[in-house]
């Protein structure tokens, strides 16, 4: 029995009829044509399908579309309508990704972290993305990009001379 739901996706209200067993991931990809959330495992292990639901990173393969009815959903298509965000630019500058399949999920997990905690420590960054698997990079340039944005924000927020870069190596 189909149900009519409304998803606020990347700032745009989308009303659709969905089956009660359809996941948010299926609906985003197959019904709405939003392809950035990736299907890596469909059981919540890999984080490739991460989206922001009311600002919190969620695995869209573990949420039914009907559960997301009336909620705000952001995918990376919605982050960057006016060019890359500061964080996305940092990922580009650090050559953070290789195959890129994990990138949409990690960009969103890190976006959520920086919204909550603008100047995270290295351990906090690692913990925030620890549910997102990457097999190519060794994570190091991903963590570094998030720290670059975090430390840049910290610098801009404080007055006086910029803080000394924390030695991480």
């Amino acid at each position: 029995m189909k149900r009519s739901i409304t998803l606020n996706v990347n700032g745009e209200g989308r009303s659709i009829d969905v089956e009660p067993n359809e996941t948010l991931l299926e609906v985003l990809r197959e019904r709405l044509g939003i392809k950035s959330p990736k299907i890596g495992c469909e059981r919540g292990d890999c984080g490739s399908c991460t989206v922001l639901l009311d600002g919190r990173s969620m695995r869209s393969c573990l949420i039914l579309a009907v559960e997301a009815d009336g909620h705000d959903i952001v995918t990376i298509e919605g982050l960057s309508k006016d060019g890359p965000t500061e964080l996305q630019q940092a990922f580009i500058d650090n050559n953070s990704f290789q195959c890129g399949f994990c990138a949409p999920g990690i960009v969103l997990a890190a976006t959520e972290l920086l919204a909550r905690n603008p100047s995270p420590t290295e351990d906090e960054v690692k913990e925030a993305i620890s549910g997102n698997l990457c097999r190519c990079t060794g994570y190091d340039p991903i963590v570094k990009a998030v720290l670059d944005v975090g430390s840049g924000r910290a610098r801009r927020q404080r007055s006086g001379p910029p803080p000394r870069e924390e030695s991480t190596g």
Partner: protein, 771 residues
Amino acid sequence: MTDRTDKSPCAPDASSPPHVGRSVTRVDAEDKVRGTARYVDDLTFPNMLHAALVFPGVAHAHLKGVDPSPALAIPGVHAVAVAADIPGENQIGCVDKDQPLMPEDRIRYTGDAVAVVVADTPTLAREAALAVRVDTAELPAVFDAEEAMRPDAPSVHDGGNTFLHFRVRKGDIAKGFEEADTVVERVFHTYHQEHSYLEPLGTIAVPEEGGSITIYGTMQCPYYVQKAVATVLGLPLSRVRVRQTVTGGGFGGKEDAPNEICACAALAAWKTGRPVKLIHTREEDFYRSSKRHPMSVSFKLGAKANGRFTAVEIRVVADAGAYSTLSPVVIFRAAAHATGPYEIPNVKTDAYGVYTNRQTTGAFRGFGQPQTIFANESVVDEMAERLGIDPVELRLKNCLAVGKRTATGQLLTESVGLPETIEKARDVSDWEKKRVSYAGDNGRIRRGIGIGSIYYGVSLGAKGLLLDASGAHLNVYRDGSVRIAVGGTEMGQGLLTVLCQIAADSLGAPIESIHVDHVDTSVVPDSGPSVASRTTLMSGNAVIDAATKLKATMGKVAADMLGASPDAIEFRGGFVRGGGGSVTFADVANECWLRNVNTAAEGWYAAPESTFDENGQGNAYAVYSYATHVAEVEVDTESGEIRLIRVTAAHDVGRILNPVTLEGQIEGGVLQCAGMGLYERMKTSSGDITTPDFSTYIIPTAMDVPEIESVFIEARYSKGPFGAKGIGETPAMPGAVAIANAVTHATGIRFYELPVTAEAVRLALSERRDQ
């Protein structure tokens, strides 16, 4: 995390090429972080259907019948393709012709599929696949390679299970062991490792006008897929076009495995006349893709009291799984390199490939070597301990260098940076101090430092059995922009970026004006596979060849424009100079267009000849890459937990083409080594995989990342692009044994199985306490 600023070992100067050697930003970076990169499952075609495979789920059985009628009765199911529908040959064996696309009478492992169901949606196709009735009669099965070698073992194929034997014979081992003062002999075991690329295998097959078909898919080797689809459909190669889509990781797992899935989708598309998409779930991917070969390696090493190695005797038994797939190439490589990177006068190596009723095994970064490396580098450490020589010193005393000979008798004449990798890894890691200070730990947490050194024959080598040449097509448009097609694939490693750099510097065109495409088999001739650390070398050289031809034709026009001699023309940085004047690269391109001069060119590069005779002697590979990793661990002697705290990774890469993408390759490889060393073992039970997902098959997360210090040695290779040689495999090779050796240093206990898990350490420590 290391600070990578000011680390470029060859700071560019005026005479350096403008782009090669610099950290050029990846050309695909923005698409990947903005979600605009299109992987195969992101594509759709009009009238597209979806397919799913039918797995009987038995490890060894007679196949008595497949009845698709219950599936066909389901509304929305369009067709069920079975073996009898195959218009060509039911055969996809990559080297040996032992593997049907779909078995007709016998199932040999749980990944064998017997039908392809085509339906309106993927979910419906999967449901219908379960409705297909499969009638089987189980046969006795064999799940262990050593057991499979016994004469009374069930035969996976007719004619015995041991189907491969590579020998290396050098000198006289009896004499060599007689000369030895100390002999160490041990047996080592490794198990299935899963590639765990994040994007599962997938494809879309699209029937085209005129009896052709186009295959889109995630893959490393489009020309393999072209051959497989043409064979199965009975088509000439010219009617099968394969277009590689953005590929979400490979690591060897997308070398030959895409042949099967693409041929299945092609058959379904052929039968229905409509585009068909087939994407594996993660679990299907575990069942159906190849793995790293489980190996047992017996390793006996003799040495003089002064540390000089005198003889080595090695027996390798590799579990090839149900079909030979790439085992002939993988086990050749294991055999050729099994001694480790040392000059040893007397060598006897026997490496066997054995069929079992388990998952097929094939290419995985390191290609058969990490398993034998675990053995040789463990034994070298044990020998060091027995002789009272530092492990670094013992390696330096015996390691390969220019003028030394490998196990296959090959004289190394250039580009051997191995000794420097050992020395640099020692110095940068502060080995000498830590080796002493860590040994003094006596609390609950004990630290250890361990080393591993490797060599890796770049490209396919003498028994590669496959084409070892590559092509490139360079097209300069009248506005000076350049589009390049190659036969080598980008799978995440950074090929497109590095080829832009190579093309910009060899053509003298502005790098922003260059675009490199993913592979389309209709554009570039068969260029072999993107494996074996060969792609930058082979495709890079093909690009340089094409650029050289283009500069010759464009140079004549430029000389005319500048009133200079063609010999005096120089292409560099977007300008063409000569006779005291200069014009832009784009001006020359436009002038060529106006004068009807062709500005497209084909490039080609063929690997130098290599040899490997029946005694395993010869120049097995044209050139080798070398690496040494030093790993530092903390071991909790109560829980057995191991924390990898630091890895120093020293690599001889010939020449650095792009420091930042190179470092990315190394860091990713280091973490794959950590996986092999500490966590990853795909477990099976009677042919079923008991760890078919990422909650039971554990790969490293961001929380497991050690501090990684990459060190580069540039022992230039005269035939490499700008002096570079392969780097794809080597980062994933020395680390696992370096970790195991570090755990031994921390605990005093040697481990003979990988991974060295917390459970194994805890058990070994408690056994020692009980003694």
